[in-house]
Symmetry: C2
Subunit: 339 residues, 2 copies
Amino acid sequence: MSKRVTAKQVAEELNISIMTVSRALSGSPNVDHRTKEKVIETARRLGYVPNQIAKSLALQKTDTIGVVVPEITHSFFPEAIRGIEKVTYSAGYHLILTHSAENAEREMDALKTLAAKRVDGILISTAESVTDYDIYSDIMNLKIPTVFYDRCVMGIGASCVCVNDKHGAKKITEHLIEHKYKKIAHLCGPLSVSIGRLRLAGYKKALQDHNLVFSEDYVVESGFHEDGGFRAMDKLLDLPEKKRPRAVFAVNDPAAFGAMKAIFKRGLSIPQDIAIVGFSDDIRAELLPVPLTTIRQPAFEVGKKAVEKLIGHIENEEEKIDKIVIDTEIIIRKSCGCN
Amino acid sequence: MSKRVTAKQVAEELNISIMTVSRALSGSPNVDHRTKEKVIETARRLGYVPNQIAKSLALQKTDTIGVVVPEITHSFFPEAIRGIEKVTYSAGYHLILTHSAENAEREMDALKTLAAKRVDGILISTAESVTDYDIYSDIMNLKIPTVFYDRCVMGIGASCVCVNDKHGAKKITEHLIEHKYKKIAHLCGPLSVSIGRLRLAGYKKALQDHNLVFSEDYVVESGFHEDGGFRAMDKLLDLPEKKRPRAVFAVNDPAAFGAMKAIFKRGLSIPQDIAIVGFSDDIRAELLPVPLTTIRQPAFEVGKKAVEKLIGHIENEEEKIDKIVIDTEIIIRKSCGCN
DNA sequence: TTGTACGCGTTATCAA
DNA sequence: TTGATAACGCGTACAA
C-alpha cells in the first residue's frame, strides 16, 4: 500500500477544507455546484482514489462479504460463486474469497481472517473434515451475519440455503429400486457435514419405504472427491461376489467418477454389472463414457439466494433466520440402466 | 460491521494500557510473561478479534491481493485460483476476488474497487471485450504492483505470466498440417486480448512455414465462449462446400465445444468431415463424444507463478519486471484425426 | 517493562 | 454553504 493522494491534498490544492472535498465527492446536496465541479476536476487531475480502508474504519462498515469455499475446482462452486458475485456486485458489496481446501483448520483460519477483516457478513459451506461446530458458534457470538450455503450447520442461529438433499437422495435411490436392483450400496460423505448426513438419510428412507434391508456393509465413506470414491468403491468390490452390490448411489458426482474408474478397472461394465448414480450434475457427468444419472443442483441459484438472504441480515436487523430449500431435479442418463 | 470488542476494552478490564495489550498479543518480546498471559486469557474471554481495518490504515498495508477473473466458470480459472490461493495463504496474504464477466466496464469497476480497497497488489487477466488499455495505465500510475496472468498486456511496465501461446498455437496447427489438411480455419479470439492475437499469430506462422495460403475467410472471431464458437463455426459451414475448411483450430476449448455442436448439427462427423482442435485442455475435453485434441495449459502453475512474482514486487522494490512464459503440452486425442 | 501522544484517511457532528 | 474537531482502532516512536 504505497503513499497515495488523499483528500487533504485535494483540499490544499484548492484552499478549501477536507470536509468540502469529502462532501463534493460523495454527492452531498449541501455544496455549491461550482466548488463541487472544481473538486471533482482536481480529484481526477491528481488521481485521487478515496481510501476505502479509512472509510470502513470511520463508518464501521466494509461493504464486503466473505465467502468460504471448500473446493474451488468442484464445478458446483464456481457456478455458485457466479451467482453470489452477480448479486453482490449489483448490491454494491465486494467479495473476499477464502478457500478451506476441505480442511477444518484452514476453514477456522479463514473464518478468523474474515472476522478480523470486519466483513459485513459471511457465506460459508463447511469443509469435508469438520468435526465440531465450535468455530461457527464463535462467529455467531461475534454477531457477524452468516449464511450457510449447500453444506449447512443447522440450529446455531444462522440462515441456510441448501437443496432438498434428503428428498433428492431418496428419489434417485428409488430410481435404482425401480430398476429392480435389490443390493444397493451408498458411498457416503462424512456425517459431520449436512449433505453427507442428509443424503444417507434419503438413501435409507428409500430402502425402508420399499422394504429393502439396510446393511452397514453397503455404506462406505468416500468423502467428496474422486480419489475417495475410487477407494470406497474398491472396498465394495472386494466383497465376495455374492454380496457385491448391484447398484451404487454416490454422495456426489466426483465420488461417482472415482467409483466408475474402480469399476472399469476390474473389467466390469456400467450399468450391466453395476449401476451407479451420483448427485450434483457436475459439468462432466453427461460426457462420461457412460453418462451419469444424477441429481441436478441449481448452483447459481443456491449462491444467489444465499447472498440475498445474507444481505437481508446485514441491512435489516429484523430479517428472520430461515432455512431455504431449493428444489433439485433428477437427470436420467445411462449409468443407472436406463435406455 | 457491528460493535465489537477492542483492545481498549481488554486494557480497561486489566487496568493496563492499550499498548501493553497490543504488545502482548503481537508477541513483542518486551512484555512481562505474567501480564502477557493475563492479556491473552482476557482477550479470549472477551472474544477480542484484532481489527485488521484499523491495522491496515495505521500500517499502510492490507496484506491483501486483488484478483480479477474474466470468467469463473472456465475450468482454467478455478484451477489458476487454486494455485494463487495456495501461495497467498502460506505467504500470509488474503484474496479479494472480482469477476469481470468478460466485460470491460465491469473490469474497470473491479480495478477501481481494488485500488480503493488499497490492496497490496493486483493479479489480472483481461476481459474479452477490452478495447483500450487506459485503465491499466491508470493502475500503473497509482503504483500498485500488478501482474497479468494468462491474458496479458505487455509494454506498460507490469510483469506477465502466460503460456507460450504462439508456439502452442503453431504446434497444434502444424499437427493438423501433418494430417495433410490444407484448408485449415481458425476461430479466433478478440485481437485486443493477448491470447487472441498470439494464437492467431501461431496459426499464421504454421501456415506460412508450410507454404499454405492464408485466407481471411478462414479466420472468424468466436470469442472465448461456447456460443461464440457455435456461431463462428456456423459461418464457416455456410461457405460453399468447395471452400469449406477441412480442419479448424479454435482459440480455446469452450469455443471448440461450440464449434463441435455446430458441426454435429449439420450432420457432419468429426474428424471425418471436419477435424477440430482447441487450446486449454478444459476438464471436459477428454470426455467429449470425440475427445478433443488440444494444448494443455498448466493453470495451477500459471496462478502460482503469477502471485509469486506479484509478492516479489510487493515486498521488494527491486524486483524486475518480467515476462514469465510457461510451457504447454500438446494433448493428442481423436478430434484431429489421430487413431 | 509499561505508558503517552500522535498519525493513518475518512465521515459525523456541531458550529460558523 | 463551509469549516473545525472528534472519532473509528491500531501501531510507531519516544518517554518514563
